[in-house]
């Protein structure tokens, strides 16, 4: 019998398959089938809507907490879809016994981040479950935004387009891992958790073809999805990845690949070559995009193949996140 495994929630191949073979199968409709971070809805005002649940542990981490994450995650999904985030709903599932001051700190943080992002929390819900039935706080947010004339989506992607990232990768993933496992680095890693609509407004130009926030599953999984949807291949250049030294060191020690680590404050941008330089400069001029870099290029190829050029010049296939990376050296 097939059962739900933790990997079904990892954002990797299994998650992807679950969405395709179960949710999309039963629930599919033209809005859901857009399979973008937010769905564009018809109506008098063109709306974008997205929803997300947050179950991070620990609740508080360097650079953020579950509340900030719950706002950023949903705001960012709207923003990368080319929409202007406007309203959020907030649903909380609380575990019996949760210290109230922890809850308050979370709510404060939600308020602060919502202000920063320019969104209003417009409705909410709270449930409390028995001790052990949830882990302290679970949050769901649904976001609504207004659609702009920004024409973005995987169908716009063409061979020759450039792949940009707005900053260092893997910071959130390593922060959560190190706080959960008590790993200490001389220079601590800080989560990049941030609302990205301001940054996107700052760098956006016509010619930006597609934007994604590479959260769970990381840059690798996101690009695999995009390459598959767009029917192209992609070539990444490892030496051009912006990496903080602590993330680099941690990955080297732990045998993790930065490409698979979660980010909560980065945008992956596919952009036409003509405007790539200007978009990059725009990014770098914004405080959240200082370390933006060009990390690769879209290429001809129907297989949705994502390749990585290593520092020695060879290439290897970068697949979707697929369980843990087991040793292979024989």
């Amino acid at each position: 019998m097939e059962r739900i495994m933790l990997a079904h929630g990892s954002g990797g191949r299994l998650s992807h398959e679950l969405v395709r073979t179960l949710f999309q199968k039963y629930l599919g409709n033209p809005y859901l089938d857009q399979m973008n971070d937010a769905s564009l809805l018809p109506g008098r005002e063109q709306l974008a809507v997205t929803t997300d649940s947050f179950v991070v542990s620990p609740l508080f981490f360097r650079g953020g907490n579950i509340g900030k994450l719950a706002v950023c995650g949903t705001v960012n999904d709207l923003a990368v879809s080319g929409a202007i985030p406007k309203f959020l709903t907030l649903a909380l599932i609380l575990e019996e016994g949760l210290p109230m001051d922890e809850l308050e700190r979370v709510i404060e943080s939600i308020a602060e981040t919502a202000t920063e992002a320019g969104v209003a929390i417009v409705c909410g819900d709270t449930k409390v479950v028995e001790r052990g039935s949830a882990d302290k706080i679970f949050i769901n947010t649904t976001g609504i935004g207004y659609i702009t004339d920004r024409l973005v989506g995987p169908e716009q992607i063409r061979p020759g387009d450039e792949i940009l990232i707005t900053g260092t990768i893997g910071d959130h993933g390593i922060t959560i891992l190190s706080e959960r496992e008590g790993l200490e680095f001389q220079t601590p890693v800080v989560s990049d958790c941030a609302p990205l609509n301001g940054l996107i407004d700052a760098f956006y130009l016509p010619g930006v073809k597609c934007m994604r926030d590479p959260t769970r599953g990381g840059v690798a999984t996101t690009l695999n999805e995009l390459a598959g949807q767009a029917g192209v291949s992609m070539l990444l250049v490892e030496e051009q990845f912006p990496l903080s030294p602590s993330v680099e060191g941690a990955c080297e020690m732990l045998g993790l690949e930065p490409l698979y680590l979660a980010n909560e404050g980065k945008v992956l941008v596919i952009v036409a070559p003509e405007v790539a330089e200007e978009v990059l400069l725009n990014m770098q001029a914004h405080p959240l995009g200082r370390n933006a870099a060009r990390i690769g290029q879209v290429q001809e190829g129907k297989f949705g193949l994502v390749l990585l050029e290593t520092p020695l010049g060879g290439k290897r296939i970068v697949g979707m996140l697929e369980g843990e990376h087991l040793p292979r050296i024989c």
Binding site: L177, L183, L312, C330
Partner: protein, 764 residues
């Protein structure tokens, strides 16, 4: 005596090796009439006369050196009363199953031609005959005919055509035959693309680095005694510490630098002309620069094997560095265009020619271990020779895709299995593409189209992904089970057998990383009878590149608190972050893999003793540890078998039965080993004792798993360690245990595909 007629059928490697002229000459000698031809099934002879028995037996006994008769059959037929003996044209038939010969080093007769100023082939860099020359590397399809080789570009001139058609000539039907007038041409080009004269001898003598097109691909070549040239090549190739292979002018010259025993000499001089790994002599003056093979006590040496190589040795050097021209992690370069582009900035000169290579093929590498040649890498000179089995029948044509590292795949049908040449590490995308290219063309050469496939159980291997995408029946095989069955298959044995499988890592059935395994079984099934205790490998493959981290993890796990605290001085080279993260990892188990790997055990000791702290090529830490131990052994002659005195005593270890498995526990081993090291005992002595200990433990584990009757299989890459393997063999001999080892395939992952295939054959 009454005249009779028989038809004789030979199958095997009987074409392109001078078989028909040999038949012709013998028929003439014995006064036999009739004819001989090549068919898709081999060679067919119609013989009439009164010496038929003698004829038949001498055909088999005196077959040409490169021929390999697999089946011979003769039947009586009706007399047709031929007046002569003739070589008649080939006939094409369905289902061709003639074996293709591997490439063959230039023969003595051809060398004489090249040395004789009056000879047509004087100094001709492409001369060959039925006894030598390119074969597999130039073949596009079967039957082996010039038109289906890359020699089809070169129409024979009249003189060559005469030789080719003359059954009394050494070049009779030698498909690649050519001369100065009609054959391929070499060109010497500098880095700017300017055409130069000569073949680059002066350039090499002056320290230049030259890319040379050979039989199976390009080499990067320089004068091995020129330290600057060797260093420059190492820097430009970004090669880390990986040793360079050498080509020596002659065995006599090589003897100045290395020890060459009779088995090794036989290998060096064989028609396959492989690289042979040889122990260096301990001398201070005039020896080759250490930069050729830093940190190790051996040199890989081969002899010139093409006419062009022999011409290069007209220069004033006795040794040339001859390293495969591939960029790190990428496949061997074999076309002129790719060489000129990819080796820009590495080679100063390019010595190219216009005979294309169709099957790129690296040099084979062997080492004599326990008086037998052991493959470290199997390619040129051996591929595509089959493994012939009579105890196994492959009903459905099968493909074994092989492993992730040092890949070679295997195709089999009926009683024949063909293992491809070494194709490198499949993580590299370009290597993976080379795999697909060769898989496609190898099918044509061996005439097998697989209908099902076998692959490793490892979920992250590139070829696992490939296998799962194929729309045919497939079967996944446990890595070490495949290592065991590979050896059984080579010896054509099917009964369940005990095997000690020692290698780096393989995906275990329990989700742990296996590598030091006692397995009992055959192609149908196996049982895990025991293994090295599980030890933590922090960071997986990333950790495996840092042997000191492995040592840290092992010791912290194995040692009692007091003993652990005394090891403090060993860890000063680890950074603060490294220490802290390792500690937390070992406490929480985050990104820590439990492994019984034998390879990591050697790595740990190598890191601990400070022999190797950063791995730049696969197996480096263990190879350097073996070198330190072997050098100690060379400098301290004593009887191994006595196990007396401090040096010779093995370290203590325990074999415990847990859950009816024999578990090798190494806590006391590491305890005493570390104590020795902290007391200042030399690295060489410790490394040597460690090897002896593991050898003893291997045999102990086997004995406790009831090996008494029946042979013991030794398989896995760790048995490419000469010091360890010879110690195991010695102990086995003392105990009367018969040992089975790989003989035609590498014991490492190069032999994996064959084992996979035989196992899948039982299931599919």
């Amino acid at each position: 005596m009454k005249i009779q007629a028989i038809a004789i059928y030979f199958n095997g490697i009987v074409q392109g090796v001078g078989f028909r002229p040999f038949v012709f000459k013998l028929a003439e000698e014995l006064g036999i009439n009739g004819w001989v031809n090549n068919s898709s099934h081999g060679v067919t002879i119609h013989a009439e006369g009164n010496n038929l028995d003698l004829f038949y037996h001498r055909l088999i006994r005196e077959a040409p050196p490169l021929a390999q008769i697999v089946t011979a059959r003769s039947v009586e037929i009706e007399l047709a009363n031929y007046g002569t003996f003739e070589i008649v044209g080939s006939e094409a038939e369905e289902g061709a199953d003639v074996l293709i010969s591997p490439d063959v080093a230039t023969c003595g007769d051809c060398l004489k031609d090249m040395a004789d100023p009056k000879n047509r082939y004087y100094k001709f860099p492409f001369t060959n005959c039925t006894n030598c020359g390119p074969r597999y590397t130039i073949i596009r399809d079967v039957p082996y005919d010039r038109a289906l080789t890359t020699m089809s570009e070169f129409p024979m001139c009249n003189s060559c055509a005469v030789d080719y058609k003359n059954p009394r000539d050494r070049r009779f039907h030698a498909q690649p035959v050519a001369c100065e007038e009609c054959g391929p041409k070499v060109q010497l080009i500098d880095a700017m693309g300017h055409l130069l004269s000569g073949i680059g001898i002066d350039q090499l003598a002056q320290g230049g680095i030259m890319a040379v097109k050979g039989l199976g691909g390009f080499h990067l070549v320089c004068d091995a005694r020129n330290v600057q040239a060797v260093r420059r090549l190492r820097e430009r190739k970004e090669r880390g510490a990986k040793p360079f292979a050498l080509m020596a002018r002659s065995i006599e010259k090589a003897c100045d630098e290395v020890f060459i025993g009779p088995e090794e000499e036989k290998l060096l001089r064989s028609s396959a002309a492989p690289i042979v790994v040889l122990e260096r002599q301990l001398k201070q003056v005039n020896s080759l620069p250490v930069d050729i093979a830093p940190g190790i006590h051996t040199l890989g040496i081969m002899l010139p094997y093409t006419p062009l190589h022999h011409l290069l040795f007209e220069g004033p050097y006795d040794f040339l560095v001859m390293t495969s021209a591939n960029l790190s992690g990428r496949p061997l370069i074999y076309s002129n265009e790719e060489a000129m582009e990819a080796l820009q900035g590495i080679a100063d000169y390019f010595l190219i020619h216009n005979r294309d290579i169709y099957h790129p093929c690296d040099d084979s590498v062997l080492q004599v271990i326990g008086d037998k040649a052991v493959f470290l890498r199997r390619a040129r000179g051996y591929v595509p020779l089959p493994i012939l089995m009579s105890s196994y029948q492959v009903k459905t044509p099968l493909l074994g895709v092989g492993g992730e590292l040092k890949n070679a795949f295997c195709l089999a049908s009926g009683e024949r299995a063909f293992v491809s040449q070494y194709l490198g590490d499949m993580e590299g995308y370009e290597n993976l593409q080379r795999f697909h290219q060769e898989l496609e063309s190898f099918q044509r050469v061996v005439n097998i189209t697989p209908q099902a496939l076998a692959y490793d159980k490892h979920p992250n291997y590139q070829l696992t992904r490939f296998a799962l995408e194929q729309p045919c029946p497939k079967h996944s095989v446990q890595h070490h089970h495949a290592h065991l069955v590979s050896v059984l298959g080579e010896w054509d044995r099917t009964e369940p057998t005990l095997g000690m499988i020692c290698d780096g890592t393989g995906f275990g059935e329990d989700g742990c990383v296996w590598g030091f395994e006692v397995l009992y079984g055959n192609a149908s099934d196996y049982e895990r009878k025991g293994h090295l205790e599980y030890l933590p490998l922090p960071g997986g493959d990333a950790g495996a590149k840092h042997p000191l981290r492995i040592a840290y993890a092992y010791l912290r796990t194995l040692l009692e608190r007091e003993a652990w605290e005394k090891t403090e001085p060993l860890w000063t080279v680890l950074s603060v972050d490294e220490r802290q993260i390792l500690d937390r990892q070992l406490e929480t188990g985050i990104q820590v893999f439990q492994t019984s790997s034998a390879g990591r055990l050697f790595d740990a000791v190598s890191g601990l003793l400070g022999v190797c702290r950063m791995v730049t090529y696969e197996g480096q830490a263990a190879i350097e540890l073996e070198s330190v131990a072997s050098s100690f052994r060379l400098q301290n002659p004593f009887e191994d078998v006595e196990w007396q005195g401090k040096v010779k005593r093995p370290y203590p270890y325990e074999v415990r039965v847990e859950n009816s498995q024999c578990i090798l526990r190494v806590g006391s081993l590491f305890g005493e080993l570390v104590r020795d090291f902290l007391l200042g005992v030399s690295r060489g002595e410790i490394a040597y004792r460690f090897h002896q200990t593991i050898a003893q433990a291997i045999v102990d584990l086997a004995m406790q798993s009831q090996v008494e009757r029946g042979p013991l299989v030794l398989s896995g890459g760790v048995f490419q360690n000469k010091l360890l393997t010879e110690a195991v063999l010695r102990i086995c001999q003392d105990k009367g245990i018969k040992v089975l080892r790989s003989r035609t395939l590498p014991p490492g992952d190069g032999g994996l595909a064959f084992g996979q295939l035989l196992i899948a054959n039982e299931v599919l």
